[in-house]
């Protein structure tokens, strides 16, 4: 399965609330492409949804290291840093 398909599957599982499955798909992408911004961002959202805030913050910070202009990642990171 290609990166795009894996990401689609991950988002589908995330929206369905099947977080374990979504995490597996996202980690498969990151194993191949450790700096994949979409996978890192969605993994951050997944951790945030499941209240694993320090892990989520780590993911958003990684996105910002790769792409400092990523507005959503900055918003999520700032929101988490405030808590």
């Amino acid at each position: 399965m290609g990166t795009e398909d894996l990401l689609e599957e991950a988002k589908f599982e995330l929206l369905a609330g099947r977080y374990d499955n979504a995490e597996k798909f996202l980690k498969r992408i990151l194993k191949k492409e450790p700096k994949n911004i979409d996978a890192l961002f969605n993994l951050g959202v997944l951790y945030e949804i499941t209240h694993q805030d320090s892990r989520a913050l780590e993911c958003f910070n990684q996105v910002l290291e790769i792409s400092p202009e990523h507005r959503e990642a900055r918003e999520h990171a700032e929101n988490l840093a405030e808590l």
Binding site: F41, V45, H51
Partner: protein
């Protein structure tokens, strides 16, 4: 309602601000002019006054307020004197801030309705939150019971509240659920919205990563953390 806040330090200011924000009439007094100027725009009236001066305090009509908040715990003597004067002048309800156990005992003897110990309470909350990453909020309700927000244990995920047997098996009462519900935004990005269910029905399901608002004995909360 009408409130009189005596002492505009960090605590007094926070109480005055919260009461004013909630739409109540707040009169705030302090000896320090700078402190008074800081809250002037927030409250109904802010006055520079030495509240240990009985005559000055009398002019405020202490008995007309629904509650008097004595927030001058830095100076124990003046805190006790103000509390005593407020009581003599007919305060309906007195709330006093304290920073020591001894002061708390004396304030109770003076007939204070509620003694608050913010440093101690905040210290306990921070310690609880720091020592357990699964605890998001901690409020001590009594020496034996607390209210906490805790990430739902994995064994609860996918079950209804009734199916968890939380009360019978673990001695915890689930009084609310906070969850982040995933959704897709207009750009196709997965995001979430916050949802809080207060007094959930026994048939409400618990999802992975939900935050449970729980009231329980402290020992039962400790056991829940380990599940």
């Amino acid at each position: 309602m009408q409130f009189l806040v005596i002492g505009i330090g960090r605590f007094g200011k926070a109480v005055a601000e919260a009461l004013a924000d909630a739409g109540h009439d707040v009169v705030a007094v302090d000896e320090n002019e700078e402190a008074v100027l800081e809250v002037e725009v927030m409250v109904s009236q802010a006055l520079v006054m030495d509240a240990t001066n009985e005559r000055a305090l009398r002019t405020l009509g202490v008995g007309d307020f629904d509650a008097v908040i004595v927030a001058t715990s830095q100076n124990i003597e003046s805190s006790l004197l103000i509390t005593m004067l407020a009581k003599e002048l007919g305060a309906k309800k007195i709330v006093a801030k304290t920073s020591t156990l001894l002061q708390a005992k004396v304030l109770k003897r003076l007939g204070v309705d509620l003694v608050v110990y913010p440093e101690k309470e905040m210290g306990q909350r921070v310690a609880q939150i720091l020592t357990s990453p699964r605890i998001f909020e901690f409020i001590e309700l009594s020496p034996t019971h607390s209210l906490v927000e805790i990430v739902a244990p994995e064994i609860f995920a996918g079950k209804t509240i009734k199916q968890t047997n939380a009360r019978a098996d673990y001695g915890v009462n689930i009084i609310g659920i906070k969850r982040r519900v995933p959704e897709m935004d207009e750009n196709g990005q997965v995001t979430y919205r916050e949802e809080t269910i207060i007094a959930p029905s026994p048939d409400e399901g618990i999802g992975s990563g939900d935050l449970l608002i729980v009231i329980a004995k402290d020992e039962n909360i400790e056991a829940l953390k380990k599940l």
